[in-house]
Subunit: 439 residues, 4 copies
């Protein structure tokens, strides 16, 4: 395990040094060359969906100065001295099974009132160019190859992307359609059995999200799951990821209602108030709405949304529904009714109504995650980054759900990782100057 | 200044040692004798109002085991090892200008649906007894005495309360009717001029809240302002308080809408979202509603409510209204409409509706403040306790408005103060055991 | 059919004349003797439930002058000249399968914050007396009798009630627990088959609500279904009811959210606005909440709630959920999110939040229905009274769902029925005066 | 008075017959020639504002088939057989004091997210053409002419518009900026004094809205006040209008919150429920928001909004605020909190949140009013049309505020007026056929 990771680091470092021989590992570098974390490829599974298209449009807008990075945590003051990859160090590619290009999808999002015509016009060519880096994803409805072959094909796409763009590292983020929870199989607990089953062309043992995660492991890319799909929740896969030492983070982006709950619930608790019930309704249209209209697909989402709330409220009554309301388009509306017990058995009632373009909340987090995961990878992190729980409904590697506490931990982590990277870079540079090889 | 404070401490310590010669300053003491902070008198200005009556009923209910201390910060796990005065170490007295007894007021609050008939029946005698410790407050409409004479009379009431109940310390909390902001006078900047004006029976230079604050200083009691009234916001008075070294805290209890804002706004900021406007409506009935129906009185409240929000949102548009809606009785309803700028200029809209019996939120905070201020006083704190900003819309001694951060600081402060008190008590005890005087 | 009905009328008239020989059929009678519609027995199925208990308490309170008839349509000015049975002409009896008496249930509703202690204390004896008129209902879990025997027993209870209290007529109202929708059986379409199956002690062909409806038909009482249960929705039963000529009304009381929708939707339509979606959430506790927690039971309620909305919005998207939130107790909270298309494709969004004690809305309608059905019966009405759609989510005998239109029709109907009854009474009286028998 | 009106009618009829000699006064005509009410000029005061621009854009879109007439009452089925002027019979002109053309304003409304870029592009030329019919309004800040001269100038503009476009009639609608309430002057009660004061170049006795109304009277055009400004609320002016016999309607368009209240309040009343308080908050940006930020200007609006609610609730507590929140742009958000007393003193709480582009609600009503007032004028109506109360917060000529009742009355009125016009046209035609002159 150590060995594998070491190789990855060496590779990363080598690529890095090759392309940027005279780097200075200081924050000030942010404005000059690229950052200590190098060039980062952002490989999106579901690269032509709403979230991905918004992230791609936003990245282009930020880079060309057409929009500020509002909504990006990493562009806040607290992060300014941390050697994160810069927005201009990010390049987007990805997989999708849809044929509608990012640029076309962006046009559609203009029609839905979400993106401005002006912006999309200005960035149209750049979006077309981004789209040229999208490869066909794994389509479970198309047979022919074994899942192992499919995974190797996907991994190969990622590797080619990395090499052809001389990237220091690739961060894979899954923003594809939500999948239903899956039933247990014995192969899920045994790497050997799993790998054998994957080679069998007559079997489809892994759901697409898990297959993509497996491909990321093969490509030794960092892997982030922004959806509530099965993904790495298969023990044998998680074990494989651990063995390869790839940094991972997940799961299910905490953008709207769940985020709000993770802000409010700890506040109520800190006041000594006891939540009795927290009832919720979610209305959404768009692609995600259509997907979640399927009772199977919605099951995973509901579980993922409720887990944190259960933990934050010590098991209050928490009924929750998600409805597909096509006329809402890309807007998501969430209503919460919170019944709280206060002093002498009295009641406090709090209602919240949240309304937002969901992808507009997710997209800046995708860019944040790419930057932060770039740093994690550069700093040699292995396995789940619990401090990225800030971004997720159902955090891997952490039980903390309080957003305030997650904010504190994220910044602290970034400072430490940043210091680590900066120090390494200084050592490296010193070593290089004095004729010593890169570690 | 040091000297004065020293005397106070000695007095406090002496009383304390007299009444509890064999105290053990450990948390376990909580369940045996009284705490390291000794017996604490809670002197309420406005002792027959809704907040005070609810606090008195609640204290009696907690002490007799009829109700848990839900809504009290200090009864949470994090505080369990801190040597705070116990609920059973608190005894309530106070000033009011109303003739309706606490017990009668409690009956009225039963009719308003706020307190349970059962509870008030069970505690009626104890409430009558508490009421017997209430003395006539300073009534600005009754002339005869100079304000200096009035202040001495009020201070005397506090002193008698302390002596007759063998209290280690008294915490004064102003929960009387909100007053209007006042106009500047030259005497407010000059202690000498102010004291002279107070002796002039033809002048009423101080508003009642400031006169009560002055009386607290004279009585060397800790002083807390739970209202948005002028209180210690008169430089000469504040200077006097500083010279006497009394611990103080304020101002304007952060119970409902403003509290909610101080939870949400930092959360939005941590996500890199930009608040554009935060519009609010407040509906309330009851005594407070009637008082705030006066455009003069409401002015101070509105200022106090808006200050924190302005600071937390970097100057967003924040229109705010408070309306007297008598049929709401003791219930307060607050609606907020928050318009937020997100990624690529998109909008997030959040609405909140809060509904609660306002005094049910305030009362546990009054008990918390009495316990914490008892600890502050026991630990030798002087001047404003900025860490009590947790409880206030307009904190004295602190610019922090984020509730999550305030929660962290309060607990940290309490731990340090607790350790300090515990150590002192150990030293004291050792000294006593070895025949040495109390310090 | 005509014959049967004629007998009924004669009986009614006879009883009526016996007990009030000198009646004057004018509205002014309202304040003197009993009304033209005579003494009306109100027989409640589910007589110990929340709705029934609240109705019984309310009737007692109105009669003794302890409370005004707020919430009763029939106590409004428009109805003052109509010869409805007076509140003092109503007497309550009923069936239930619970052993908890009305008075005890009322105590429980005091604890739930719904009824006032004061009121229940004052009316305790009267409630006990009402409870003495409650007989064991049909309990589907207790076997032994055939359903035909059970129905005869139930009908007998109603007849005894009528005779022993010298009532002019009995109105049966079903306010028992909501039942699940049922599967089709061939017997449901054929009276002969149905009656045969009822006699078979090994079969339970009818759900309890339908059995109660059948018993009402047997007793020749008017029948009203206030629940969404199967009730008369069995063709053979409906045919039986039609043959016997009993007046009927239903179904499912339109008290809260659905009522609000029937007010708003026609308003939007009258403005030429087009509803795209109307999404709803319902939270409730109490007995009804517990019943509806069962996915089977809730199905009928959801259908019944959605039917009117579908009709009023021309088939908009209308997702709807009902959740059991025990801590809400007897309170029902409903949130609606309405998305409307306006001029030039623009959007209007309306949200409503409704919060009320559900039984407090239902109870006055039960009293209204008893009075109005008393009038319908006195006026010789047969079959479903479509004009009572005012009270129902899923009106029998009418397709009108607009509340404004329903209000207009109800009043118009009452005026006509009232005139009819008054005329008949005058004729009757004249006939009596001139020695002619009552018809 | 009669005489004057008679002349108007003759003129109207003559013009009408001249331009359409072979009209058939049947509904089917709607699709062939123009309607019985002839060509109608719609003269907007404030013709370059949001409401006017949206109405002009909408009219062009409807006429060219780019959009349906959603939101127009008169395009509903109930009105289809009534001989209203058709949308294609309407032509817009008007007064404004702004130099920004309608087309430019439409562009701005695209930026505000209200109008679609697509639509405005398609209609740009037509909007420019409409703008060419706008004349400089009366600007109170520009002195030089007496108010009488100004009024004659404005009236002349209207007359020229009528003649140059061969219009059968002109309907003036004031949609200019809201003005503050005005103080009483003796001239307001005396036509002679008022006319004299108008001739005095040193006096500005009338506010602009009243001057425009006066100009309409001079031009013998029908006059509608869509704002809460003083307008015809000056007795001497109202008397003048009555003498000239011009049909009038007003006042203050009932588009959003007030409309909603007029739907809900009668519904609650019909249930026998008693509104205790109805508290409201209004947030808006845009031009109207900026105008109403002035405490003077907002006073009239608040009065106008509250009048109907007071009448519908029998004097409940109705606090109301309007806040200028610039970031909301053209969107208006209104929150209402309604506290209702139900059965046995229980409470129902209803909250509503309304969010819409305000001008999108107003614009179709402007087109409706033009059509309906065209019909009123054609049918010989004189003075206030109370049945147009449907459209107004503060109806002239009616005390009815219930929207359901107003809907009923509007349709009934339109049917009668339509029949009247159709009959007249038939007579006319017969007369013409038989060689007799038009009356
Ligand atoms: N705020 C948010 O938007 C938010 C928050 C949390 C989680 N998420 C999750 O993010 C995901 C994306 O949301 P969206 O709104 O962009 O949805 P979307 O439907 O617009 O996009 C999903 C994309 O995934 C593609 N896809 C489907 N199957 C694929 C496969 N096997 N391989 C590759 N691509 C595939 C689709 O073609 C589509 O382009 C969803 O799972 C959603 O639950 C979104
Ligand atoms: N959640 C809350 O309830 C809350 C939150 C923040 C601040 N506050 C503040 O707490 C205060 C009390 O609120 P309340 O609801 O109990 O009001 P209340 O009107 O019920 O009680 C005020 C009491 O003060 C007494 N009083 C008036 N003038 C006095 C004087 N000169 N000396 C002594 N007593 C005097 C009155 O007689 C009355 O008994 C108000 O200023 C309110 O703004 C309350
Ligand atoms: N606003 C409202 O409260 C409202 C509105 C519409 C419809 N309803 C319907 O009214 C009914 C009563 O509501 P509730 O809140 O009083 O419920 P509840 O649970 O308090 O009362 C139901 C009563 O029915 C009795 N019961 C059950 N099965 C019976 C049987 N076979 N025979 C006789 N009695 C039986 C139960 O013992 C109980 O006392 C429900 O069906 C509800 O859906 C209520
Ligand atoms: N839903 C609604 O939009 C609604 C509802 C009810 C009433 N209203 C009323 O309609 C009016 C227009 O609203 P808006 O949003 O279009 O406002 P706006 O500010 O966009 O437009 C007002 C227009 O009036 C013009 N104007 C000002 N003074 C004038 C004068 N003396 N003569 C001629 N023109 C003049 C201005 O230049 C501007 O173009 C307001 O009074 C508003 O209160 C609007
Ligand atoms: Na401060
Ligand atoms: Na029907």
């Amino acid at each position: 395990m150590k060995l594998i990771r070491h190789q990855r680091e060496e590779k990363g470092v080598r690529l890095s040094t090759e392309s940027n021989p005279n780097q200075v590992p200081s924050p000030s570098e942010q404005s000059r060359g690229h950052s200590a974390a190098g060039h980062v490829g952002l490989w999106l599974i579901g690269a032509r969906g709403s979230v991905a298209t918004t992230a791609a449009t936003g990245l282009a807008a930020i880079r060309t100065g057409l929009a500020p990075a509002t909504g990006c945590v990493t562009s806040q003051d607290g992060f300014s001295s941390i050697p994160l990859p810069k927005f201009s160090d990010l390049i987007i590619g990805g997989h999708d099974i849809s044929d509608v290009s990012i640029a076309k999808r962006a046009e559609y999002l203009v029609g839905a009132g979400m993106l401005s015509q002006h912006l999309v016009n200005a960035l149209y060519e750049e979006l077309e160019e981004t789209d040229s880096r999208i490869r066909p994803g794994y389509d479970p409805s198309c047979r022919g190859e074994s899942q192992a072959e499919a995974a190797r094909r996907l991994a190969n796409d990622i590797n080619e992307f990395k090499i052809s763009h001389s990237l220091d590292r690739v961060v894979v983020i899954d923003v594809s359609s939500t999948e239903a929870p899956i039933d247990y199989l014995p192969e899920f607990d045994d790497i050997g059995l799993l790998l054998a089953a994957l080679e069998d062309p007559s079997r489809d043992i892994l759901p697409p999200s898990s297959l993509s995660a497996y491909a990321s492991i093969l490509a030794e890319a960092s892997y982030i799951c922004f959806t509530p799909s099965p993904s790495l929740n298969i023990p044998a896969l998680r074990q494989l990821a651990a063995e390869r030492g790839v940094p991972t983070a997940g799961q299910d982006g905490k953008t709207g209602q769940t985020w709000l709950r993770s802000v409010l619930a700890p506040g109520l608790a800190a006041r000594g108030l006891k939540v009795l019930s927290w009832s919720g309704a979610n209305l959404l249209g768009g692609g995600d709405g259509a997907t979640l209209a399927d009772p199977q697909a919605v099951a995973g989402k509901l579980q993922s949304k409720n887990r944190g709330l259960q933990s934050l409220t010590n098991g209050a009554t928490t009924p929750l529904h998600i409805d597909n309301v096509p006329d809402l388009g890309e807007t998501k509306v969430a209503w919460d009714h919170i019944n709280v017990e206060g002093f002498l058995g009295s009641r406090v009632t709090l209602q919240t109504t949240w309304s937002a373009y969901d992808s507009m909340l997710a997209a800046p987090m995708i860019l944040d995650l790419a930057r932060l995961m770039g740093l994690a990878d550069a700093s040699g992190h292995r396995g789940p980054v619990g401090e990225f729980g800030f971004f997720f409904k159902d955090p891997w590697g952490s039980d903390e759900h309080s957003f305030a506490e997650q904010s504190r931990r994220l910044l602290e982590w970034a400072r430490e990782a940043g210091t680590h990277v900066a120090l390494e870079r200084t050592n490296e540079k010193d070593a290089t100057q004095y004729g010593v090889g890169a570690r």
